[in-house]
């Protein structure tokens, strides 16, 4: 569980810790991916290139299973980035905060508070991140729907009868909402439980967290992987629904 530390930006605020962790995840992801594509070869790929190719093939298969692959192919870059970003975000919250001592006395931009705490924070444990991703999903859904069907896309809002318009409107709002809250809830709860385990009595003396912690961390890795998969699959499914030629 992380205290929300805010930076003042104009007349509003931003969650400093979320931003810092997002940028960290982005940096790690960029390093990881660029190490993988550094020595690209069409012959025998290196280990990292192999991993990246596996991810690309995995997402490509999800897309081709769910929709006409020609319509989905331009989305592939977005979807691969999405699944990897969410996975990395989910994983980083499980790593013990080894940088805390470095920033202990750095008052600038509240860095001592931002980088304090027992573990690093998942960017996806902040509703702003998950809602941002879900918003992009729904923008893609509507955008691609219009692109592939033109104005006819909006016709489905009054199918089979105009009376159903409110239901369709709720549907189009509920999709990003459920996406955002599912991911946020899973990851946030995971971090809360980590915090709770760390508060178990006797931790300092008897190592009370030694048994439950690895169990929960292992489960969290599983949850993190599943949630990144679910988010991506649902994004693909919603887009497939929007672009499908159902008439």
């Amino acid at each position: 569980m992380h205290e929300i530390i805010t930076w003042q930006v104009g007349n509003g605020t931003v969650h400093a810790k979320t931003l810092i962790m997002t940028w960290t995840v982005m940096a790690l992801l960029l390093i990881f991916v660029f190490l993988g594509v550094r020595n690209l070869t069409s012959g025998k790929p290196g280990k990292l290139q192999n991993i990246l190719e596996w991810v690309v093939d995995f997402v490509r298969k999800l897309v081709s299973d769910n929709m006409d692959y020609k319509k989905g192919a331009p989305l592939l870059s977005y979807l691969v980035t999405l699944i990897m970003f969410i996975f990395f975000s989910n994983m980083i919250g499980l790593i013990p905060n080894f940088v805390a001592p470095l920033f202990k006395h750095v008052e600038a931009a509240k860095l001592n508070a931002i980088l304090g705490g027992a573990t690093l924070m998942s960017p996806t444990a902040d509703i702003n991140t998950t809602l941002a991703l879900a918003t992009l999903t729904i923008i893609l859904v509507i955008g691609l729907g219009v692109k592939h069907k033109g104005a006819h896309y909006f016709h489905h809002f009054i199918e089979p009868h105009p009376v159903f318009l409110p239901i369709h409107l709720i549907d189009i709002l509920a999709k990003p909402m459920t996406l955002a809250f599912r991911l946020f809830g899973n990851i946030y709860a995971g971090e809360v439980l980590i915090a709770v385990i760390l508060l178990l009595p006797g931790l300092a003396v008897f190592g009370g967290g030694i048994i439950p912690m690895p169990v929960w961390l292992g489960f969290s890795i599983f949850i993190g992987a599943i949630q990144s998969f679910v988010f991506t699959v649902l994004t693909i499914a919603y887009i497939a629904q929007a672009v499908a030629q159902d008439h």
């Binding site: 205290e3 930006v9 940028w23 960029l30 991916v33 070869t41 977005y78 999405l82 941002a132």
Partner: protein, 187 residues
């Protein structure tokens, strides 16, 4: 406080905030939200342009390579099959030619053999004829010799008889007759 008009989420956030007393509210939406959208779009842009595009091109290239290799292998297989059939046809032809040569040689040798045989027979015949002719000649010669000797002996005998008993003059006719008889007698 709510610049983005996300009413539903914000209501939850403010409700939670009022209960939790500020700092601990996990569902608070502020400028982090657009910032995260922007961050993620930048990440997508960078990765798509510098990582996924070259990576996918490379995968496509590999797919193409494999396809080409398979096509090449198929072509080579067909080529090998063609060469094999050519070779087989060639072999068949060679075998037929060899067969022909052997047959011809056999025929030739048979002809030659019969020719030699015929020649030998002819030669033998000729030698036989020559031998017969020789024999005939020898016999004739021997007969002539014997006849001459008989004549000589007869004359000698006759002389003796005549010397002892006969007056040659008186017996000329008789002697002549005798000689004639001896000469006509076959030996």
């Amino acid at each position: 406080m709510n610049p983005f008009g996300i009413g539903f989420a914000y209501t939850i956030a403010s409700a939670a905030a009022s209960e939790g007393g500020g700092g601990g509210n996990p569902v608070a939406i502020d400028y982090t939200y657009p910032s995260q959208i922007l961050s993620f779009l930048i990440l997508v842009f960078i990765l798509a342009k510098f990582a996924w595009k070259p990576l996918m091109e490379m995968m496509e290239k590999r797919r193409q390579n494999i396809e080409d290799n398979l096509a090449n292998a198929e072509n080579e297989r067909k080529e090998a099959e063609r060469i094999r059939q050519e070779y087989q046809a060639e072999m068949l032809k060679a075998r037929q030619q060899a067969q022909g040569i052997i047959e011809k040689a056999t025929k030739n040798s048979e002809e030659r053999a019969s020719e030699i045989l015929a020649e030998a027979r002819k030669e033998t015949e000729k030698m036989k004829q020559a031998a017969l002719a020789d024999i005939e000649r020898e016999r004739d010669k021997a007969i002539a010799d014997v006849r001459a000797q008989v004549v000589d002996m007869s004359i000698a005998v006759a002389e003796k008889i005549i010397q002892q008993k006969l007056d040659i003059k008186g017996q000329e006719a008789l002697i002549e007759q005798f000689i004639q008889e001896v000469g006509d007698r076959p030996c």
